[in-house]
């Protein structure tokens, strides 16, 4: 259970790593330290050997054996020295600090002798390492370092009075000094313990430190996230995670908050549109249901009215029934008008007048907030075909937004109005398209960059698939997503009636593929190459209109601006920066109105400096592009 926790696993991994690193480090540290201790002892023993030989040399010359034995005995009494002995060339111990060993024979094949006596040849000069050996007398006893020092033949030896040694003999015997390593071993063990303790302390300290940071940076935020996801899964979409810092987990928390916000917005929106839809259905249903009984009342009462022409008294009453029923008929009619989405009622209007009316509505509000309105417009702007009530609503909304963004210290709103010309290529949107049998080819369920796409059924052998074409003329962001390849026998048909959409007798001038043709109600024919690889498209109607005239209104405020993150979202329904104060419907409704007028609305903003809304309305509405 504990090991399943991410924090524990991290701590475990870090502790294991530091254990391995400290262990390897300690091993090599101890090894090098004990090596240098031993070589120190070695050097010391070698020196001792040389000293013994040189101090006994004179006695040897005089062949005073007792004195030699005495010197060796006195050296051997030193505490660290275990044994000092001199062995002659035939392997007999002739002097020793341990009297029991005197006159004993040493086997030349033992390990200590083998270095020099390999292949039965006594060697002259050998290095100090080869003369040294470390061994244990018993398995339980301390380690002992033994060093053998050869006693070379000299001129004085063979010319001495005793003349015991012949001249051709090079080595006369060896001095073997053994020194106990008990002290050294003790130091090494102490060192080992020190390192083990250091390692344990270091690992615990690292573990604790890691545990602290893991808890702070990982475990706690992850638990918060976990808790939040559980809250959301239980339906609490308003749950927001508190700030988790600026690292990846913090960003995860932010995007989680964003996601739940979006979810709850979508839920509200869904609820809202569902409500509107059911209200519309209800109204239509009620109207239809009431219409029938009303028809009964109206037909019978007007029938009676006709049959009782000779009875003025009855006529008077019947007239009232007929009149009131006709009134009910109007009420039902207006109920349905209300339930329907209102169509803009467009007429020629002066844009400057509309703006002035909008300003007059909120003028008092603006003067309270010390906001100055600056108007600049081109002279002689032509009249524009719009629903002046709706457009006025747009400007009122934009001005209110601007004044909300301006702080208490006041500021200004600049309104710039001018006439501009725009080319339709890359701008014109196909809003209605149909097959030769008048079936709509607009797919409201599939959008490319937010606009409903054109749908075409592709039939190849036994397979069929729907492809989607970009509704904006000139952008060509078509989406094919086909599982099969398009070949000569592939058909492009209307999804509803299977009538072919291929333009007979015409091929794409760029690649020779068949050309698809769509009837755009009242706006001629839109042609596009059927191949995935070609960008060829043609819409004579739009091309012939050439450059279109627009009125552009720029509304610039000196307010707080809109952050880069919020900028792409501001036209979405229910997006609001005003917290509880706003409903968030304003800009979405504005967008809808402008779109209904075949215009565009865009926004530019810099945080802290202000915002500019750019509204472009086509001069004429007759043939909408």
């Amino acid at each position: 259970m504990l090991f399943k926790k991410i924090g524990f696993r991290l701590i475990f991994a870090v502790a294991l790593t530091s254990l391995i690193i400290i262990g390897v480090f300690a091993y090599f540290n101890i090894k090098s330290q004990s090596g240098s201790l031993i070589s120190e002892v070695e050097r010391h023993a070698n020196q001792l050997g040389e000293t013994v030989i040189s101090s006994t040399r004179f006695d040897m010359m005089l062949n005073q054996r007792d004195r030699i034995q005495q010197t060796i005995n006195s050296i051997g009494t030193q505490p660290q020295i275990r044994d000092v002995r001199i062995i002659n060339k035939i392997g007999e111990i002739i002097y020793s600090s341990d009297p029991n060993n005197i006159n004993k024979m040493v086997d030349k094949r033992t390990e200590s002798c083998y270095a020099c006596h390999s292949e039965d040849q006594p060697l002259e000069q050998i290095s100090i390492t080869e003369r040294t050996r470390v061994f244990k007398v018993h398995p339980d006893s301390n380690r002992v370092l033994g060093i053998i020092t050869p006693i070379y033949n000299g001129k004085s030896c063979w010319q001495a009075a005793c003349h015991a040694h012949p001249q051709n003999q090079k080595v006369l015997g060896v001095l073997d000094v053994s020194i106990s390593l008990a002290e050294v071993d003790k130091a090494i063990i102490t060192r080992e313990w020190e390192i083990v303790i250091f390692a344990i302390v270091a690992i615990i300290a690292v573990g604790l430190l890691i545990a602290f940071f893991v808890r702070r940076w990982v475990s706690n935020p992850v638990n918060d996230l976990l808790n939040a996801t559980q809250q959301v899964s239980q339906g609490n979409l308003n749950y927001a995670i508190k700030n988790l810092g600026d690292n990846e987990i913090g960003k995860l928390g932010e995007s989680f908050n964003n996601m739940t916000k979006k979810l709850s917005e979508a839920r509200i929106q869904l609820f809202q549109s569902d409500k509107m839809a059911s209200l519309g259905r209800l109204a239509a249903g009620v109207a239809h249901e009431i219409n029938n009984p009303l028809t009964g009342v109206l037909t019978y009462s007007s029938f009676l009215l006709k049959r009782t022409k000779d009875n003025p008294e009855l006529q008077e009453d019947l007239n009232i029934i007929v009149r009131e029923t006709l009134r009910s008929r109007e009420i039902v009619k207006s109920l349905l008008d209300f339930a329907r989405q209102s169509v803009p009622k467009k007429h020629n209007a002066n844009i400057i007048e509309i703006i002035d009316k909008a300003i007059s509505v909120i003028e008092s509000q603006l003067s309270i907030k010390k906001i100055k309105i600056i108007k600049q417009s081109e002279n002689n702007l032509p009249p524009i075909t719009v629903d002046s009530n709706q457009i006025q609503q747009v400007f009122i909304n934009l001005f209110v937004n601007a004044s909300d963004a301006i702080s208490k210290d006041g500021g200004s709103i600049t309104i710039l109005t001018k006439q501009i010309s725009l080319s339709p290529f890359g701008v014109a949107q196909i809003k209605k398209a149909s097959c030769p049998k008048r079936h709509s080819l607009i797919d409201n369920d599939f959008k490319i960059d937010g606009l409903p796409a054109l749908k075409v059924k592709v039939v190849s052998a036994d397979k069929e698939e729907i492809i989607h074409l970009d509704p904006v003329y000139g952008k060509h962001r078509n989406q094919y997503n086909l599982v099969f390849n398009i070949d000569k026998n592939t058909k492009f048909v209307c999804p509803d009636c299977n009538s072919s959409l291929v333009q007979q007798g015409k091929i794409c001038p760029e690649c020779g593929a068949p050309v698809l043709a769509f009837e755009i109600s009242g706006q001629g024919l839109y042609e596009v190459c059927s191949s995935v690889n070609s960008n060829w498209e043609k819409w004579d109607f739009v091309d012939s209109t050439g450059i279109k005239e627009y009125i552009e209104i720029r509304i610039n405020d000196t307010g707080s601006g809109i952050s880069k993150d919020d900028l792409p979202k501001i036209f979405e329904p229910f997006f609001s920066t005003k917290g509880q104060k706003g409903t968030g419907l304003g800009l979405a409704v504005i967008w809808g109105i402008i779109d209904n007028h075949n215009g565009t609305i865009t926004v530019e903003s810099e945080e802290g400096k202000g915002t500019t809304f750019i509204v472009r309305l086509p001069l004429t509405q007759q043939r909408q592009i």
């Binding site: 037909t299 109600s521 009242g522 004429t620």
Partner: protein
């Protein structure tokens, strides 16, 4: 020419059928009824009715089925649609597809009777026309067809696009041919809003009948023909040019024109 016509009434509400039966008895029409589309189709296959009055929305189908049946079997019955207000768009579409008129529910006796009267006249003119074709005599001109660049809503009103973006609307000569000579025209006011398929002016004929003309387009009236106000008979003399009724700024011509018949197609 006898006035009686053979009428089939299709509606799922007994009270409406009974009402229509009573009203029609005022003018001595012979009447048959059907409470659903299935029975109606059966009856159509057995008998010939010169006029069929059908509710556009029925529990087991819609008026378009009757329309299709008439067209596939090549029956020349005049079809009048009855509609609730919510189905005006369907009603306008039914005109495009061959119905000759529609009456929005609820309606008065006069509204229904004038519609039946016109349908009856329509049938008479059509059969006279046919006879004149058959006899191969010199073709008699019963009414003037609208000019080829015009659009018409059924046989009642026409629309003509002007270069400044406004449209002129007026009444078709065929409609005038189906009513008695004109006595009075009742106009809407300047700046009034009109909607496609909703009555936009009324013509009172000498026989005291009131005929409502469905507007071919939605929009705002910016001009009313002053000459027509002074001399109403102008509409009968020159219904397509001097006899225009309103000048209108259309709201969404591109969309609504789909339900209008291009007059050029009449000449094929």
């Amino acid at each position: 020419m006898s006035k009686t016509a053979n009428i089939l009434v299709i509606d799922d509400e007994k009270v409406i059928i009974d009402g229509i039966v009573k009203i029609c008895s005022l003018e001595n029409y012979s009447i048959d009824v059907a409470l659903n589309i299935t029975t109606a189709l059966e009856k159509i296959s057995k008998h010939y009715y010169s006029i069929i009055i059908c509710d556009i929305m029925m529990p087991d189908g819609d008026g378009f089925q009757i329309l299709n049946e008439l067209q596939t079997r090549n029956i020349d019955s005049a079809l009048i649609m009855m509609t609730g207000y919510s189905t005006v768009e369907n009603a306008v579409n039914s005109l495009y597809r061959g119905a000759i008129d529609f009456i929005p529910k609820p309606f008065t006796v006069d509204e229904l009777l004038s519609s039946i009267y016109r349908a009856n006249k329509y049938q008479q003119i059509k059969s006279k026309q046919e006879r004149s074709y058959k006899d191969n005599k010199e073709v008699e001109l019963f009414y003037v067809e609208c000019p080829s660049k015009y659009y018409r809503l059924g046989h009642s009103s026409w629309l003509c696009e002007e270069s400044d973006g406004s449209v002129l609307i007026g009444v078709c000569d065929f409609f005038l041919a189906t009513i008695d000579s004109l006595m009075e025209i009742e106009f809407l006011e300047l700046e009034d809003e009109i909607a496609q398929g909703i009555s936009c002016f009324t013509i009172k004929s000498t026989d005291e009948r009131i005929h409502k003309i469905h507007s071919p387009v939605s929009g705002r009236i910016i001009d009313v023909n002053k000459n027509l106000k002074l001399i109403p008979n102008l509409i009968e003399k020159d219904p397509y040019f001097e006899g225009w009724v309103y000048r209108v700024i259309p709201h969404d011509l591109g969309y609504e024109i789909k339900n209008l018949v291009p007059c050029s197609s009449d000449r094929m």
